[in-house]
Symmetry: C4
Subunit: 245 residues, 4 copies
């Protein structure tokens, strides 16, 4: 375990807390626009502070890595998250991994992880999408999203691709947020279906009973059997030759 891994192991908890604080500090003034001084200032400070933490963490990890160029190329996502603060909450996906404890066997573990990430990511996406749209649309003329409540409602109708049309973005920023949510919605649909399909395919092939495919271990055992046979013959070779003289 080199220096980089040590640092990441030590800083993980702190950074997750920081990401939570960051998200909270962004969310509060959007959800309760009435929040007055000194809170606005405090929250702004929290945002800047946590943001700085992420920046410092990135620099330190870049510094500790043996192969800096490789690290840079393999962590473009981290860089993007750093430069596009709205992506910061993605760090919280790490929290999702805590849910993966429930999973047992190899196959169900993979599906379990996929599901937990899908569910956690969807929840996070809905919340952040609602924040972003509310921030972008509130107060704009002809906007149908007038607060966090309607923002959340819009995010849900969009992510599920229902799209009643009672709430929809009218600003360019809002429409960009919408595009992200729609694509995520399609991906969500895909993940749900794919997981179910994979589960069904597996269960069906299991319930096929005697028709199960021959396993490698099975054929390996058979091969061992044959090799054993060969050795025996080689051994007897010697003896029969003696008896021959």
């Amino acid at each position: 375990m080199n220096g980089l891994q040590q640092w990441e192991a030590q800083s993980e908890r702190t950074l997750t807390v920081a990401a939570l604080a960051f998200l909270g500090a962004l969310a509060v003034p959007i959800i309760w626009p009435a929040v007055g001084e000194p809170w606005v200032g405090v929250l702004a400070a929290v945002v800047v502070l946590t943001w700085l933490m992420f920046g410092v963490d990135y620099v330190i990890r870049l510094w500790l890595s043996e192969d800096r160029r490789g690290f840079f190329l393999h962590n473009l996502v981290d860089l993007a998250v750093l430069l596009l603060p709205m992506l910061q909450p993605l760090r919280l996906l790490r929290l999702v991994t805590l849910l993966s404890v429930l999973n047992r066997t190899g196959s169900s573990r993979l599906r379990g992880r996929v599901v937990t990430y899908a569910v956690g990511g969807t929840g996070l996406l809905t919340f952040c999408g609602a924040l972003a749209i509310t921030d972008a649309e509130r107060g704009v003329d002809g906007a149908t999203v007038t607060g966090f409540g309607s923002g959340l409602w819009w995010a849900i109708t969009t992510l599920t691709t229902v799209g009643y049309g009672d709430t929809y973005p009218v600003t360019v920023t809002g429409r960009l947020v919408a595009a992200v949510l729609m694509v995520a919605g399609i991906a969500l649909l895909g993940i749900v279906t794919a997981t179910l399909a994979s589960w069904l395919v597996e269960r069906v092939s299991e319930s096929a009973g005697a028709e199960q495919a021959a396993t490698r271990s099975q054929v390996d055992a058979l091969a061992a059997e044959v090799r054993g046979l060969r050795r025996e013959l080689a051994a007897r070779d010697g003896r029969t030759d003696d008896s021959g003289t």
Copy 2:
């Protein structure tokens, strides 16, 4: 068969009837708001009565179970259904199982059960969603759901993620109901697709004919063949040694 299983076997029919009565007693005043006294009172009584029955059933089962703590943990859903009366109709999913009679072979049985649950659950969900939305929206200013008819129409457009936008919830309760229906709609889409995919994958691999994967039974037979060969050699061993002297 211990006491708990006996009780569940005996009470099942009664509880299913009670769930039907419960749903009916909830539905009638929502579908026909004009229904006057004494019916309103009677129906309310039915709701309370059946609800009590479910509570008593839960307590009895908790009492009869060997491991109470385990029972509690394994039946949190039942508890939720008990505390959130709107979930009561879920009990009716038991009726769906009656449809599973049609299914034969192992693989198709699994898919068959999945399909019957999906269809039954969808129907039940549409009906209950329509009840809930009608109850929540009717009489609200600016509501587009004005009766059970439009409620049912809204439930269908939502569950299929079409969402014309001619009817949509405006209250918080209504939007919560909508969120549930949308998620259910996505799950429904997933189940339909996954079942079709699993069916296709299976049929395709079957129709692949000579390309079918070697089965375990097949390889087992081969292994037996080889072991037989070994035994014969061992037997001849003895004889050839004699002939050698």
Copy 3:
């Protein structure tokens, strides 16, 4: 080939033509409401006539079948099609089978049939849905579907679950048609995805090359090898015994 099969073989072409005539006679007055006498009468006559033909065909088939009760139970769909004239066009799905010529290998044949049925069925459904909605909504107050053009547009937006909401049914009949189209839309989505998935799964396993699963023929060949070995040993057995004396 018994009498029933003979009759079905002979009557197939006639009935397909009759179904086309039926659909045409239903469609014309809906698409061009301006069509005046004597055409209205003629078309109505065609509808009645073709309908009678289907009825006669059903009776004859029921008569020719060895096991009438079995025939009745196995042809409930035909009966439904007969009693619900709007379902008559389903007969045209038979035309789709003509497209299945393109398909070759076992696996792709199955998928090919699924795809051709899906495409043909979707086209037919869109057309009939547009007819039905136009017939149900035109002239109704507040209806957004005012002619066959907007009816067709509505059918497409519904079947694809897009649902802009610029056109939507307001009558009960129209909403029933809509429900059918929505469910069909979900099924369509499912079929498209499932076919793609099955194709991908198959191709992927093929392109896995050396990782391909052992085939039954392969293992059978190996078993033959081993049996041959056993026979040889049995043969040598004799000779070595002789040499031993």
Copy 4:
């Protein structure tokens, strides 16, 4: 490598550039209607010129091909693209193939190609759909698509089947474009899901570890083992007979 292949190898780069120029020349006046002379004329000239290039290319390829009739039948798509200029951008899908470099193993290569085509095709489709709808709807009474911006927004909401209904086509041309996008949207959903499903199915079967299906190479090795055994026995046959005399 015959003349046809040589020509295609040589002309590919030129034609791709031409397709880009064609798309650009179509797009500019739609995106910036204010663009005045002489640019309108120049762009129109570019469109005609590039179009001619595609025509010449088609004729040359038809000329160079050994079997002209076969070439004609196998290149109906090219002919359609030639006659329906709006399809020209499809040629740009060739650019997508450049992205396929990332893919490694057989299985992931196939999926990788599917994904890259889906992503590239979707982007292209969105852009061209936005161009087409803007061209068709702008300036029409009651049109909700008033410029390229809202056209792009409409294309996204349609392709993802969200369909808020804040923007929708009102002209026949626009609705035809919409139908194409909707079908593409369904196909897109299908591809995303199918790819995920195929990936999951593969990964799950891999992670099943010891349960992996016996591979052909494995059984081939076993068969070699057995054949070797047979040869040895044949060899010993000779020797034991000598010792017998």
